[in-house]
């Protein structure tokens, strides 16, 4: 791209806010009542982290893998990429995340067993993704119909995932955090370019996760 320094963030925005939010509205209408299942899966993941039954790592990783694959295909590839060609290059990253989670599950290399401050803070972040996100529309003057729900929309899925991963141990964890964190950065920038006040939420979730990881490293 020539004279790249003359471009503003808004120059990369190809769609209007109305089209963006209606994308979620249409996805919600198309997939309802799948939301109940994805939310139940999310709450089950948090319970598995808390209760730590046998093979919890396997089930959590497989559930997250299925949800990442679904969101990547159903929302990013099939809907978002239609209005934003750049997302066609991003959607496969959600598929890669699903593969990494399956790989982690197969290797038995994931355990959600951290109970330090960062781990507990992570569960709080996961609850934000699961419970707070679907409740946001009226706070930002939007209809309920375009609510972003864990397992259906990418932002709450990424936020709940990084939260759960903060409570995880294993060599794959840093790698598994990369894609959701980068997604939240991209999503925050998109919302910011749209002038949407909700932009700070993905930034805050990603920033809080990085801060928690840093503090954990310092505490060692």
């Amino acid at each position: 791209m020539s004279e790249w320094w003359t471009y503003r963030l808004e120059d990369f925005l190809l769609f209007s806010p109305r089209v963006y939010w209606r994308m979620f509205e249409l996805a919600n209408a198309a997939f309802w009542p799948l939301h109940l299942l994805t939310l139940a899966a999310g709450l089950a993941i948090v319970l598995l982290v808390l209760l730590q039954p046998r093979r919890q790592g396997l089930w959590i990783a497989l559930a997250l893998a299925a949800l990442f694959a679904f969101v990547g295909w159903s929302l990013l590839w099939s809907r978002y990429a239609v209005i934003n060609w750049a997302i066609a290059y991003v959607a496969p990253a959600f598929g890669l995340q699903a593969l990494l989670l399956v790989f982690g599950a197969a290797r038995g290399g994931l355990a959600f067993d951290r109970r330090d401050l960062a781990g507990r803070f992570g569960l709080l972040i996961a609850v934000v993704g699961l419970v707070v996100y679907p409740l946001l529309p009226p706070l930002f003057g939007r209809p309920w119909a375009n609510a972003e729900v864990f397992g259906i929309a990418p932002d709450p899925t990424a936020i709940a995932t990084i939260g759960v991963l903060l409570a995880a141990s294993g060599r794959l964890v840093p790698l598994l955090l990369a894609i959701p964190l980068l997604w939240l950065l991209l999503s925050g920038l998109t919302l910011h370019a749209m002038g949407d006040p909700q932009a700070w939420l993905p930034f805050l979730a990603a920033g809080a996760t990085v801060a928690a990881l840093t503090l954990r490293r310092i505490a060692r």
Partner: protein
């Protein structure tokens, strides 16, 4: 170069792009002013329809129908040129949907772009765009933002020679790469150039607009409202009383009248999602247009707000 009354009249005469105001049929909305494409003499309404952002609505059936309604109102008000690009997300298939729904209006002048960094991929991309629109051929294909312009221009001139497109052009926006743009304008027999120009972004007046007039190139003006930012900025301001002298009832009409009254400008392509706005835009090309002195007054007024 600042346009004076003398240079204004001189440029208008030299460019062969003198304004023609057609008579409206009784009861019909007033027809927009027409401008000649210098390389062919073909007459085009001075207001077209841009599709950047506004037509990128994906597969949303409600919004697709709204776009079709905007297109219907555009054609009903006498509009002809619709401009798009492969860069504009789903805008091309949305135009195709609207054209199909409207029975493929014969009046339409299709303006497309080629936008790929790979020169050899240009023909395939143009063909894909043509299928999205569902037209037998494009009237105009432009090299978008000068991307891989050398190879694409070769392709486009060959397509024009074969009768697969009617006109060749290049585009830029927001004042980028004007030096290279000027070089290409001097070196190649382009039919159209597309650039950003409005009451606050007047850099094109210095070299590109006079050069287009001199070289006999039609000028399409993009981002007339700075992607809506200009009209939003002016929303709270009072339109001066003297705007009535040029028939401007809204800020949008004020801005469009400023643009299309430049003698080198052929078509301005505001984008909108609203039927009332598309009608308002086309009305800007009816009635009196500002002369050089009035244009300076308009620019000074906006600058001082």
């Amino acid at each position: 170069m600042i346009i004076t009354r003398r240079t204004f009249v001189k440029a208008a005469a030299a460019s062969g792009a003198a304004l023609v105001l057609p008579a409206a049929a009784p009861g019909a909305p007033p027809a927009p002013a027409m401008r000649a494409v210098p390389s062919s003499g073909e007459m085009l309404p001075a207001i077209g329809l841009g599709t950047w952002i506004t037509f990128n609505v994906g597969d949303d059936p409600v919004l697709r129908d709204e776009c079709a309604e905007v297109m219907a109102a555009f054609f009903a008000a006498g509009g002809r040129m619709i401009d798009s690009s492969p860069m504009y997300g789903s805008s091309q298939p949305v135009i195709g949907y609207g054209l199909e729904k409207l029975g493929r209006p014969e009046a339409m002048f299709s303006a497309e772009k080629v936008w790929t960094s790979s020169g050899p991929d240009g023909p395939a991309q143009i063909e894909q765009s043509r299928r999205f629109w569902g037209v037998p051929r494009f009237d105009l294909v432009q090299v978008h933002n000068l991307v891989a312009w050398e190879t694409h221009l070769e392709t486009l001139f060959a397509m024009k020679a074969d009768g697969r497109i009617r006109y060749v052009g290049i585009t830029t926006s927001e004042g980028r790469r004007h030096d290279l743009f000027e070089q290409i304008m001097r070196a190649h027999p382009l039919d159209f150039v597309q650039l950003t120009y409005n009451v606050v972004d007047r850099e094109a007046e210095e070299r590109l607009l006079p050069l287009a007039a001199e070289r006999g190139m039609a000028v399409i003006v993009n981002r007339p409202f700075r992607q809506g930012a200009l009209t939003r900025q002016l929303q709270g301001e009072t339109l001066p009383d003297w705007a009535a002298e040029i028939g401007a009832k809204t800020w949008a009409q004020f801005i469009l009248k400023f643009i299309v009254s430049h003698p080198a400008v052929t078509v301005a392509i505001p984008a909108t999602t609203r039927v009332d706005h598309v009608r308002e835009n086309l009305l800007a090309a009816t009635g009196p247009l500002p002369d050089a002195a009035m244009r300076e007054r308009m620019a000074a007024y906006v600058r001082d707000l």
